[in-house]
């Protein structure tokens, strides 16, 4: 088994799906990552990746419409492997349509997915198990 000095953890929280809750998503992540023995730069990057994914749920799964639905974010670390799960009940994600814009195509928008892919090792979309519709998994090896 890989040796790591990063503690294992498993924490989840739900948030109402709206843009005003993105700051609470960031606070939750910062609170969790504070427990991990990783550098501040990496913590900031991970907060950005999670906030971008949460923003995509508000923007795309719910089309920025008002809802009482909640999304759930689960952060787990085991043997230095970080896995972040996002669960929502919005419109099903059309995996084929997800792509970040070309980075040399300078225009507003489309950068969130690019940031997520830059920061994380893997991004996987799955069909959510009931009651969820979408399940996104971001993962990264923190031992590197």
């Amino acid at each position: 088994m890989e040796q790591t000095n990063i503690i294992d953890l498993d924490e989840k929280r739900d948030f109402e799906v709206n843009s005003s809750n993105l700051k609470h998503v960031r606070s939750f992540c910062r609170e969790v990552f504070e427990k991990l023995n990783i550098n501040q730069e990496l913590k900031d990057e991970l907060v950005l990746a999670i906030a971008e994914a949460a923003q995509n749920i508000v923007k795309h799964a719910y089309n920025n419409e008002q809802t009482e639905d909640k999304m759930e974010i689960k952060i787990s670390v085991s043997d230095g492997h970080l896995e972040i799960g996002f669960f929502d009940k919005g419109r099903p994600v059309e995996k084929d349509k997800i792509r970040h814009r070309k980075i040399d195509d300078i225009k507003p928008g489309g950068l969130g997915t690019f940031f997520i892919q830059q920061i994380m090792d893997a991004v996987v979309f799955k069909e959510g198990e009931k009651p969820w519709i979408n399940h996104l998994i971001l993962s990264k090896n923190l031992n590197n």
């Binding site: 843009s19 005003s20 993105l22 700051k23 960031r26 730069e41 900031d44 907060v47 950005l48 906030a51 971008e52 923003q55 508000v58 923007k59 980075i103 040399d104 300078i106 225009k107 507003p108 928008g109 950068l111 969130g112 690019f114 940031f115 830059q118």
Partner: protein, 99 residues
């Protein structure tokens, strides 16, 4: 996010403060865009911006493009370390006017 605007000649400086995410981009645009439309040279002071995500970066791109279109200029001033990192991640350091 809070802001303060100061004027000196044809230069308007917008001092932004706090975290810039999707929730505040409209507010940021409402402050910045009229200055650009008035053909002011706009300085965005980002010293007190502790966090900016892709939505905030979109505001910077949109402001820059609008200014170019109208023959004026947006310059980013005193960029905080965290914002600079996101600008560089988006590979915009050669596109936007950084000072």
């Amino acid at each position: 996010m809070t802001y303060k605007v100061t004027e000196e000649g044809n230069i308007s400086t917008v001092h932004l403060d706090g975290e810039i995410d999707m929730d505040v981009t409209e507010k940021a645009k409402e402050v910045i865009m009229p200055l650009i439309e008035a053909k002011k040279e706009v300085h965005l002071n980002l010293k007190e911006v502790q966090y900016m995500d892709s939505s905030g970066i979109s505001v910077l791109i949109e402001s820059h493009q609008k200014a170019m279109e109208l023959g004026t200029k947006v310059t980013l001033k005193e960029i905080s370390k965290s914002v600079l990192k996101v600008i560089m991640m988006a590979k915009l350091e050669q596109i936007l006017n950084l000072d």
